[in-house]
Symmetry: C2
Subunit: 255 residues, 2 copies
């Protein structure tokens, strides 16, 4: 049986999703919980790697197991064995050949900014704070410039294997900027991402919002394929994997 | 000069606002910061005591000081000396005889409930989780029953000095229940509160929401003056002092 699970996690204490030689990964913590529940430690396939400190509201992963627990009982069973900063939100069966990474149509990321002179005692782990006023109308205009099929090399951190292979064309289907009080949210949906792409995209939009870049400059930045033309890489703590979209058959029986 | 400051704090690590013989209080932590900035340690008057673990979004306090720093510069100066879980949001001058507790017309408290079978990895410190579905329409009806001038002894924890003095009549001017997804918020505004009153009020509303009490039962519970008739005291972690209302003159000069 192939199980697809959705997870939320606070990435602050982790080196990212993927198992790493050094550092505690979300995947390893999840496998420990899985082993406690199933008595087995199957390989897991995550929808994305996510960097150290990045959070998730709707991370997807799958694994194969001969499991007597019906899928709808898995979240509670696993949550009793997982650290409090990782929660399983849902579980279902999927076709045997389903792979959480390759089956993903699009992934949506959220970047959260606290646009305030004063930090919040409650949200400091989950927002990047920018004290100077950001003009979100300008940011929204610039965001539209990222939408479409483009070479995103200008938004790719060095050391990317995709860049080394010349594989830097992606399609962003949606990129929006919204403000609620002093909270600014950037939501990006794409068929794939380059290394640090969302954090650089968010950093570029903030340059526009702060008035240091023009909203019309995005096309030129992308065409330049020059990382130096884009904005800074914003910190991991503001970044959330929001959700992943799959084309899946109606859910199978609940028993 | 009499300074009125507004603070937000995460109360998780504190024994409440008020200085206590045992335990770290928000007031003591604040006074340490004040002393570092002013070189003096004035008495501070808080708008409320707030219990251990209770949070604040808009706590008000005042103190008298001969301070060369203009009020508008105090928040940044103090925030650089305060622990990260306490932030000064604003500061202004008020008349010499102003007292943050006695001058308060009304105080508004917020109680936050996560109505979900699964805990949130992000909000566990700031929401009380109730797994079973709460009917917020029923809760809103019951909430209306608390509004008005009533004897609230039935919502008062034992050991209250107000109760010992027979001083248990208060006026709730507003009490609302709203739901956004799996988040339920109870907002209460009153001219004063008895010991644990909001947490017992919230616990009573949750009994109604869970179907164990009738929305029409509130009047009878209050009339009984019997703590045993009301619902349980919900945990401190869901409770926030939301804001305090004062009648104040227009703010004085900013220099």
């Amino acid at each position: 049986m192939n199980y697809l699970l959705t997870l939320a996690y606070d990435g602050t204490e982790y080196c990212g999703f993927q198992v790493q030689p050094n550092g505690r990964s979300v995947a390893a913590a999840f496998q420990d919980g899985l082993e406690a529940v199933l008595g087995a430690r199957p390989d897991i396939k995550g929808c994305s790697r996510t960097d150290a400190g990045v959070h998730a509201l709707g991370f997807a992963l799958n694994f194969h197991a001969d499991c007597k627990i019906p899928p709808f009982k898995l979240p509670l069973a696993l949550n009793s064995r997982l650290p409090r900063d990782i929660r399983v939100l849902s579980a279902r069966l999927v076709p045997e050949d389903f792979h959480a990474r390759y089956a993903a149509h699009t992934k949506t990321y959220l970047y959260r900014i606290l646009n305030s002179a004063i930090d919040s005692p409650f949200d400091a782990r989950y927002y990047h704070r920018i004290p100077g006023r950001l003009d979100t109308d300008r940011m929204a205009k610039a965001a539209a410039g990222f939408v479409g099929r483009h070479d995103f090399l200008a938004l790719c951190a060095s050391g990317s294997s995709a860049a080394a292979h010349g594989d830097t064309v992606r399609t962003i289907t949606d990129c929006t900027v919204t403000r609620k009080g002093d909270r600014v949210e950037i939501l990006v949906t794409a068929d794939g991402y380059l290394y640090n792409m969302v954090r650089i995209l968010a950093g570029t939009l903030c340059e526009v919002g702060a008035g240091r870049m023009d909203p019309g400059a995005i096309g030129g930045i992308l065409a330049s394929r020059d990382r130096g033309r884009a904005g800074p890489t914003l910190p991991a703590k503001g970044l959330f994997l929001h959700h992943v979209s799959y084309d899946l058959p109606e859910e199978e029986t609940r028993g």
